[in-house]
């Protein structure tokens, strides 16, 4: 019996297969290089422009003349090649692709490591580099080594102040930063059904932090309902009785607020252990935790209060922002004294907005706390949205209360 990756790729683990891709996307960072490679390859016409997307999200709006020029070149290329473009302010590629584009059973490649996020829909979704992307644009297909699969078996139900992000930090700590290299993760078990689509996207997002190629959920009633909101009809996937290489057990009842401490994603402590750590910045957003559910949770905690430290909130997409405006969530965030940025990756990669200074400490809801990532000489702690919100109010790492 097949794992979900094996079923979608149509071959057993360990085999190399050539597969047509259903959706292939690049962003402003990787798209520029893909365009260069395509030029060097001498490719004039793309066979399937309707399967391709360009999403400007990494450095938006452009911060220098060079960035603006690179984006202008790519924008022009989108126009002549017929590739659909989501321009500055549209949102993060993984979020935009998760708003009704990606469906269960698809083969999805993105020129960004966190493309595994879209495995949450029961798609085989994985990250590639820019030259790979150029060849995919040119041919419509690519090769894969079918991965072995590690099951992350979720039981029980989240309670208290724990969130899907805490579950993500828990499994990354359990597997380690290279515990799933070349493999796929499948999130299975009775506990999976109780996790919202936004929460699943958070869980799948961090699969690559264990070295995994993708992190997948089987499409179920939650997936079908979510996609229906975007006018997409999808069918649930039935898990087969397959053999996993290994199973990691996570009891959701045991999960408490967690924090990854500098400079490793797999060095995880209970939030309580690092409570009181001084902060210079709090950052809420990214492809891990910039969704509507995240912003609403954040707003619920800061509503009627003032943040004690500079706090940046970047919605993951324009539709997230629009919904946050419509429901009053954004007003609560602004009233609490937060800086609201344009939809996109923002400070996560330290390329423009929200860079931290030498010796500064940021608590972030992103997925990486690598040394100097958000600014030279700075330190990054990773947490859930609730922990970030409670900490923004006090100015030090603070264990969230149940809200």
């Amino acid at each position: 019996m097949s794992t979900l990756s094996e079923a979608i790729l149509g071959a057993p683990a360990g085999e190399y297969v050539d597969r047509e891709v259903d959706i292939a996307f690049a962003h402003d960072g990787t798209g520029v290089l893909a365009r260069e490679a395509l030029r060097e390859m001498g490719v004039e016409r793309l066979p399937h422009p309707e399967r391709l997307r360009l999403v400007f999200d990494h450095i938006v709006p452009a911060n220098t003349g060079t960035t603006a020029t690179l984006q202008a070149e790519l924008r022009e290329y989108a126009g002549v090649s017929g590739i659909a473009l989501s321009d500055a302010g549209g949102g993060i590629c993984h979020q935009v692709m998760g708003e009704g584009v990606v469906r269960p059973g698809m083969v999805v490649v993105g020129a960004d490591s966190h493309t595994c996020t879209l495995g949450a829909f029961g798609a085989f979704a994985t990250g590639v580099g820019a030259t790979d992307m150029a060849a995919i644009w040119a041919s419509g297909e690519t090769w894969f080594r079918v991965p072995e699969t590690i099951a992350v078996n979720l039981s029980g139900r989240l309670s208290g102040a724990a969130e899907p992000k805490d579950v993500a930090l828990a499994y990354v700590a359990e597997l380690g930063m290279e515990g799933a290299t070349y493999r796929a993760l499948e999130f299975v078990g009775d506990g999976a059904a109780g996790i919202s689509m936004d929460g699943r996207l958070t869980l799948s997002n961090m699969a690559v932090e264990t070295g995994a190629k993708t992190g997948m959920f089987y499409a179920d009633a939650v997936t079908v309902r979510y996609l229906a909101d975007y006018g997409v009809t999808a069918s649930p996937q039935a898990p087969e009785d397959c053999r996993y290489e290994r199973t990691v057990e996570i009891d959701l009842d045991d999960i408490v607020p967690l924090v990854a401490v500098p400079h490793r994603v797999d060095t995880v402590r209970e939030a309580e252990e690092v409570a009181g750590t001084h902060l210079d910045q709090v950052f809420v957003g990214t492809c891990t935790n910039g969704r509507y559910e995240d912003l609403a949770r954040f707003a619920r905690i800061v509503r009627g209060k003032k943040v004690a430290v500079r706090t940046l909130v970047f919605p993951a997409s324009r539709s997230v922002l629009a919904r946050a405006i419509a429901t009053g969530v954004l007003a609560d965030i602004v009233d609490a004294g937060c800086v609201v940025g344009s939809p996109g990756c923002g400070p996560c990669l330290g390329a423009h907005a929200g860079v931290i200074g030498e010796g500064e400490v940021c608590l972030s809801t992103a997925n990486r706390n690598f040394k100097n990532r958000m600014g030279v000489g700075g330190e990054i702690y990773l947490s859930s949205v609730a922990t970030a919100a409670a900490s923004a109010i006090t100015g030090v790492i603070t264990v969230p209360e149940v809200v």
């Binding site: 260069e36 690179l70 493309t115 580099g129 030259t131 070349y182 990669l349 100097n372 030279v376």
Partner: protein
């Protein structure tokens, strides 16, 4: 496919931010990436890269899909990267830009002579031979062409 050079030894979990920081991604000038390679790990490393073989531990190149990380090393003149294990996108990117990557657990001393033979499937450090994990036929063919772009041009 063979090559050799003096070793530069690195540890485990060398992430792509350490190989080329996000602040240098706002250009397509490849020489900028070569000049700033490993800057946040050790600013003295970049000038030593030309002609060297990088020898790392586990999970080399973890993190971002940024191809600038492998381009930086190739542009700086790195002959090959040997590691106990690689992050998969880095590994695939290296093949795509024509930078030999060899998965083998080796003992490393800075400056040791590292030689490799992809066809023979081995790597030697100061004369001690280690077996390398084999690459797929397609990967070897891409590397032999000098990367995915020249491979494409020769096959289409």
């Amino acid at each position: 496919m063979q090559g050799a050079g003096p070793a530069i030894c690195l540890g485990n979990d060398i992430d792509t931010d350490l190989i080329i920081a996000g602040r240098y991604l706002r250009t397509k000038d490849r020489s900028v990436w070569a000049e700033h390679a490993f800057e946040d790990l050790d600013p003295a490393l970049a000038p030593r890269l030309s002609g060297s073989v990088i020898v790392a531990g586990k999970n080399m190149g973890c993190g971002s899909s940024r191809e600038q990380a492998v381009v930086a090393l190739r542009e700086a003149g790195v002959v090959a990267v040997v590691a106990e294990s690689f992050a998969r996108i880095f590994f695939r990117n290296a093949v795509n830009v024509g930078l030999p990557v060899i998965e083998a657990p080796v003992a490393c001393t800075d400056g040791a002579r590292v030689a490799f033979d992809l066809d023979g499937g081995w790597v030697e450090v100061d004369g001690k031979r280690y077996p390398a994990r084999p690459l797929s036929e397609k990967m070897v063919a891409i590397l032999r062409s000098g990367g995915l772009v020249p491979y494409w041009r020769s096959w289409r």
